[in-house]
Amino acid sequence: MKFSRLIVQIFLTVAVITSIVLSFFIWTNTARYQRGRNIDVTSAESNKNEIPMNQVISPTSVIWHDETEQHLIYNSNENISLSIQKVMQDWKISEPKQVSKKDGAYYQKIIQGKNMLQMVYPTAISINTFGYLLNNDSLKNDKSNQFNRILVNLKDKKDPNIYLANDSNYAVYKAKLKNASSVPLTKLVKKANINLQVRLDIMKHGVFTSYVNPIKLKTYSYVISGKQDGEYTTALFDSNTNGLVTSEDNGVYTYNYGESKRLVSDHNTDELTFEDYTDTSVPKNQLTFLQRGYQKITNIQNSISNLRLYSADWDNKDLVFREYVEGFPIFKKSQFGSIRIKFSRKGSTEHFLNKVLEVPVPSNQAATRLKSTNAIFKGLQRAGYSPNDVEDIEVGYQWEAEADNEKVVDLKPTYYVKIDSHWKSYDEWTNESAEED
């Protein structure tokens, strides 16, 4: 009798312990289960088909100062700037502190520093946007300051800092780096296969990249693609196209969606304008300004892998995006680049072109040899424009449609000069060729 009672007691003890252990497992497991769900929610938000925002808002030129001189570098097999950004995502960057402001001499020293690798954005962005793109918390805290150059010293071990510099007010910000090594960056610099000697000149209207010697640049060809108006209306009018009113006048098609949205498509120039009168909220800070712009361009175009933010005018809430090839911007026939977005209290406006670079094609044209930037300034002076009139100067690719093949476009390098807020190619300003004889 006693023996069977002992067995019952042992079983009871085992049963009690098992229930405790199982309860423990279930509790800890439920916790894991809920955490798992949270991860799922966040990953579902980032759509894998899209080009990430840090590719669109990205530095476009990389300048390396070796022991003696500065070079614009590029690797036609791998985008150096995107690769550097990937490396920087692992860095621990502390909160940036302002080092100087409005000091032109110090600014020149910084941007011409030896062993400095610098990446240049076409336009200034806020430091917290940069923090958002790198997913770095200490940078995210800096809400007001802007910059357009990132500089890192690759050789000096006593200078473990990242510098952020702003051309418009000569402000320089410095932030301590941890967990950063210069080795992967030096490797990327060495792999560059385009290497052009440059000098950074501080001029009246900003810092210009001057090519010291004549430069040889390749010509590119691309197959271009466009969409039917219907595909745009579906995407822009939130797919409900029942109440659509259409009118046509000399190849200019207008689509109205009630009183709230309108798309005007000019079939002669392939330019489209979309106005959304319901989108009346103006972005409250610079980060949401760029985020909303990015969302709009992904809605307009399927292929944005060549598209970069070209200018961000925070005061006028005006964004311009351009397509880039090998680190140089493409100037099409329009004044607004590829896409222009403007926010206002009356509604948002989007200008864009129905011609997108789709597939690169081997070009059968020889490389072009362009004059040095100095020679270009002299040519402008002969035509009556002083260097102080030049608001901006840039080597860019000209969009030339092929006569015998509508679907292929040739991209030829030339100098583009901005005078009186208008971008025109050098030969349009001067009637001279920018090519070296």
Binding site: S19, P360, P362, N364
Partner: protein
């Protein structure tokens, strides 16, 4: 009520509690596995009797490649021995009939043909081709052009032996000398992305097996006298009942499924 009775009742109660806890523990574990979106798709595919090996989640990089028409085959025809050759200038293609057909079995055909291909007097540039079981059938043994940038699965760079009654009787060959990189490298979809996407688009039927998933370059279009190649995932799905295989192609840049045109020669750009 004596104490022993209470003990027995407690034992029963705790024992049933244990069973309940154990069952709910197992349930919660199943829930965990269904949390992540992709894992649930994979689990769902297993449930529908779709079998496949482990899927690579790493997304790599690839290029747009271009090639110019090439006359290397035409220039080296005299090197070939023991075969009747016909060269088609339009397609830059050799069609050859072997004087001495080669006997092969299903088991040894890879080894036999690998040896045959190595010799320049048998096959021009044979060392640059590699056996591709995914493209081969009972009546055709297909070799594809390989290079430092990857393999090319395309009619413009292929070596196809025709097999008839266990004998290799002849072949056709096309060749691309060199590929040039047209654009900086771009991120591509991973194997797992591609297969879960195919499943989500009802391209993988129930009760089937994914026998191959290979990344290779294939012709996208011809422009300005050049051929443009893009990376494409070739996914072969075999029906377990009918044993019929079908190969799906997915653009590795965009993830779009490529529908072959009616003649099967061209792939439309999507």
């Amino acid at each position: 009520m004596d104490f022993r009775r209470i003990e027995v009742i407690f034992l029963i109660v705790f024992f049933s509690l244990d069973i309940f806890l154990f069952l709910s523990f197992r349930n919660s574990q199943q829930l965990v596995s269904s949390t992540s979106n992709n894992t649930s798709t994979v689990a769902e595919m297993h449930k529908r009797n779709i079998s496949f090996g482990s899927l690579d989640t790493k997304s790599g990089y690839a290029y747009y490649l271009g090639s110019q028409p090439d006359e290397s085959l035409a220039q080296n025809l005299q090197k070939l021995n023991n075969q009747k050759i016909n060269y088609e200038e339009v397609n830059h293609m050799i069609s050859s009939t072997l004087n001495d057909p080669i006997t092969v079995t299903n088991a040894d055909r890879k080894d036999v043909m690998n040896r045959f291909v190595q010799k320049d007097s048998n096959i021009l540039f044979g060392k640059q081709y590699k056996y591709a079981p995914q493209l081969s059938t009972n009546s055709q043994i297909v070799y594809v052009r390989t290079g430092s940038l990857g393999e090319v699965y395309d009619k413009t760079a292929q070596l196809v032996f025709s097999v008839s009654d266990g004998e290799v009787v002849g072949y056709t060959q096309t060749y691309v000398d060199s590929m040039i990189i047209l654009h900086e490298k771009q991120a591509i979809k991973s194997e797992k992305d591609v297969i879960t996407n195919l499943y989500a688009n009802s391209e993988i039927p129930n009760n089937s097996k994914i026998s191959y998933a290979n990344l290779a370059y294939t012709k996208l279009l011809e422009a300005k006298n050049s051929t443009i190649y893009i990376p494409v995932w070739f996914v072969t799905i075999k029906n377990k009942d009918s044993k019929v295989s079908a190969t799906k192609k997915v653009n590795a840049f965009t993830g779009n499924i490529i529908k072959s045109s009616t003649n099967g020669d061209n792939y439309s750009a999507q």
